[in-house]
């Protein structure tokens, strides 16, 4: 998680968003990841999305576990609080943070080892609780920081650099999410910023947990031939399910009937998400169909990308627990303490 401060060179000409901030204002410290690491492209996409969404940096909270992927949180939104927790437990800490203050935009960055191995149980229960946050898995099929062991997302037959094949069936976070009732599932590819940015924006406006699985190749340990998480393999097998187009709240929405094969979803914050199905019969609101589609694709060796599933109707953590609209951490003590008279009543004769 080493970090070197980046010289803040501001080109006078750089564009500013409605808050008057340049894209640089959404960056963090200089990356210490390997040159070419997919994770850095994810960082770039996040920076871009936050800037375009006019997000106030201090209203963001960044969380991660441990791993090369976990370091990513240091590389964007330097104006936001960040918490580099321990391996596999980020979901739990994010849940607590979200419980204390429902007003922040929580961005969790995890790895395939962090989320699908040591942290799998927590991710599953995070999904059940539908905690409102953006949860990105930077998925490279290996444990990068510990030098390239297979992670649970490694496909059977995929080989290590040394050539040993993986023999244990993989866990696909998208299929897992579907079976656990996830309400927002998307898969991106660090090599395709175009596709990733709108997905991140949509995720940030989602009512509950938005799980984004980003294939993010590890150039040092898993970008070789024989790997199914390499840049080459992913490019060759990328099969787009949907194309998302995000219309922020501010922009007035031209009330037009969405064209054939385009789904229009109003997000909880009022923004609108337009999802165009690429296989025109693909329906991102039909859990069954999506599961079916994913499994067929996997059988065919394809990597399905795009916004895969969305359900904007289910309650999030706070709605399930009927908490007040104000952040719990901001409730004045006077409203929390019943006072001396009430106390005197307890256990008395």
């Amino acid at each position: 998680m080493a970090s070197i401060d980046k010289p803040p060179i501001v080109h006078p000409g750089t564009r500013r968003n409605s808050l008057g901030l340049t894209i640089r204002d959404y960056e963090g410290s200089m990356s210490t990841l390997c040159a070419g690491c997919g994770h850095d492209s994810v960082t770039a996409a996040i920076v871009h999305a936050l800037w375009e969404m006019d997000t106030q940096p201090h209203m963001i909270a960044k969380l991660s576990g441990i791993g090369c992927s976990a370091k990513t949180t240091a590389y964007f939104a330097r104006g936001a609080h960040g918490f580099n927790t321990v391996h596999g437990r980020m979901a739990t800490i994010a849940t607590g943070a979200a419980a204390a203050n429902r007003d922040l935009l929580y961005i969790g960055i995890s790895g395939d080892g962090d989320s699908l191995s040591i942290g799998l149980g927590h991710l599953a229960h995070l999904i059940r609780r539908n905690v409102r946050m953006v949860y990105i898995i930077e998925n490279n099929g290996v444990y990068g920081l510990t030098k390239g062991q297979f992670s649970p997302s490694a496909d059977v037959g995929s080989t290590t650099k040394r050539g040993d094949p993986n023999n244990t069936p993989p866990i696909d976070p998208m299929s897992l999410g579907l079976s656990l009732g996830a309400t927002f599932l998307a898969r991106g590819f660090s090599g395709d910023k175009q596709q990733l940015v709108p997905i991140i924006k949509a995720a940030a406006s989602h009512r509950g947990l938005a799980l984004i699985d980003v294939i993010s190749p590890c150039v040092t340990f898993n970008d070789h031939e024989g790997s199914t998480k390499s840049y080459l393999f992913t490019r060759q097998h990328d099969s787009t399910a949907t194309e998302a187009d995000f219309v922020p709240v501010q922009a007035e929405i031209v009330a037009s009937v969405p064209p054939e094969g385009v789904l229009s979803v109003t997000m909880h914050d009022g923004s609108v998400l337009r999802v165009r199905s690429v296989p025109s019969d693909y329906d991102p609101t039909d859990r069954e169909a999506v599961a079916e589609h994913l499994r067929q694709a996997r059988a065919a060796g394809d990597v399905v990308t795009g916004l895969l599933y969305i359900d904007e109707t289910s309650a999030d953590l706070h709605e399930m627990h009927d908490t007040v609209s104000q952040p719990l951490r901001d409730i004045p003590f006077a409203q929390l303490c019943p006072g001396s008279e009430v106390l005197a009543g307890f256990g008395a004769r």
């Binding site: 998680m1 080493a2 970090s3 940096p57 201090h58 209203m59 909270a61 969380l63 441990i66 240091a74 330097r78 104006g79 936001a80 609080h81 960040g82 918490f83 580099n84 927790t85 321990v86 437990r89 979901a91 739990t92 800490i93 994010a94 849940t95 607590g96 943070a97 979200a98 419980a99 204390a100 203050n101 007003d103 922040l104 149980g121 927590h122 599953a124 229960h125 953590l317 706070h318 627990h321 009927d322 908490t323 007040v324 609209s325 952040p327 719990l328 951490r329 409730i331 003590f333 409203q335 929390l336 303490c337 001396s340 009430v342 106390l343 005197a344 307890f346 256990g347 008395a348 004769r349």
Partner: protein, 610 residues
Amino acid sequence: MVLEKVVPALAGGGSGRVNDLAIKLANVNGTGSSSANNLLMQAFFRMGIPVSGKNLFPSNIQGLPTWYEIRVNAAGHTARALDYDVMVAMNANTYAQDIAEVRAGGYVVWDASWPLDPVLLRGDIDYLGVPVARMCTESFRSPRERTMMQNVVTAGALVALLAIDLDTVSNLLAEKFAGKDRLRDSNQRALMLGYDYAREHFDCPLPCHVEVMEGTADSILIDGNTAAALGCLYAGVTVAAWYPITPSTSLMDAFAQLCRRFRRDPVSGRNNYLILQAEDELAALGIVIGASWNGARAVTSTSGPGISLMGELIGLAYYTETPVVIVDVQRAGPSTGMPTRTQQGDILTCAYASHGDTKHILLFPGNPAECFDFAVRSFDLAEQFQTPVMMLSDVDIGMNDWVVPRLSWDDSWVPEHGPVIDAPALESRVEAYHRYANPNADEVSPRTLPGISERGAYFARGSGHNQLGGYTETPDEYLEVVDRLARKHAAAASAVPPPQIERRGARTALLTVGGCDPAVREAIELLATEGLRLDYMRIRGFPFAAAVEDFLADHDTIFVVEQNRDAQLRSLLVLETTVPKDRLRSVLVYGGFPLSAAEVVDSVRTQMEA
């Protein structure tokens, strides 16, 4: 041979004491005996007699032996008594052992619906047979009532035998079943069945019985878990996360109930709190860390196994300097151990929890009243020192009913959040904010909350970091932070609850912790009668206050009384004070039952004689 009509033969035989008796009720668990036990406890309490109840129950839901011990003692000695004046033997499976435990001159109340095996007869005690089951079968219709009411019938018999105030008991039933007339009537009926039967067949009251007195004014009857939950409520906790585990479950149950009553927003009717049943203990602590980092007061409660599982995250909170409060209601270990038995076995584990160099703040309540007080203080301490605070309760304090002074609250009290820089301060300050920088060499560095201001943004990490909060692998930078953490912990010595000390100018002392308090105090009195004068100190917090050092320095021999095998409190004293090891002797009682004075007296006596 069956004993039906018995006129106490040994009237007064050693048992002719008033407001000083020990009753043990032996039952099968899952048959509703607890409500009857509670009824008796309340009755004694309302009669103004100091009383305690020790529930010795199995880790099982239904069908196994369970015991409840009640001690009433005008002098206020409410530690567990080992010699019973009255044994209410309602579980045939344990007759032999139960009857053997009755003191000479004592009484056995048993269910005379079935014959009693003659081998169980002792000449030195009286047998008072009450056909409880039979009476219930005759008087009640539903199978459920026929079992449930047996306990109330027995209670009724005790009311007569011990001269417990009948009206008080009837009122208690009336209050309990207010609005549920049918239930109240059948309970009242059952009560009178036993009462009348006893009056008819035995000459009541027995020589050992009770009388109204004024020993519990301004006192309350409460268990430690409920009191701790109240503490969390009053301290302003808004986020709680837990994973069910005996014996801490009732703490969160109580907190949830309290929140339902007192934490509904008056306007919106929605909840001013969020309690999460986590997927495991790691998650529970993770949630608390996240909520605390984000500025809410948060708590988790657990027991030994949970503490073991929380180890890694405790280290994270320690090193990132995130305030968290953990209540450890200790049970008998190791491993799953005996979940419903009491022990003080997590002291060392908690003091140094997590790998690497770590030290934590511990609070040791000695009774339910302190569970309330210390729970409230734990949140202030956690925020003032930005570190985990663990409150160590146990099965005895947490789940048993204790008579303690009424809980009081100062309405002018406000939470002490420790150094936190708010938005205005951040915006106005010139210099940049750095999370772990200590301009004034103060041990605790001010923190900022997420969502406040870009100028307060920092990166919390469990990996090596320097004063600025930046990642580091440079020795000097790393040392600056971890050395400050050590000083910070030491500084907490003056902030934790000071020890409770009683000096009588003795060179020998008894030192203890937690729920051992009443037994050790009673032991001191008993030993005094033998001419042995002893000073007393009860540890209530770690790191140890200066007063602890002083007390240790002033005594040649200190018996450390604790409920674990490995002398864990003694170990902590040896490591964290300057006391010479050989001054500290151990009195270790760790079979799983609450401590009794006799156990302490025996051990001290033998060690003194040796």
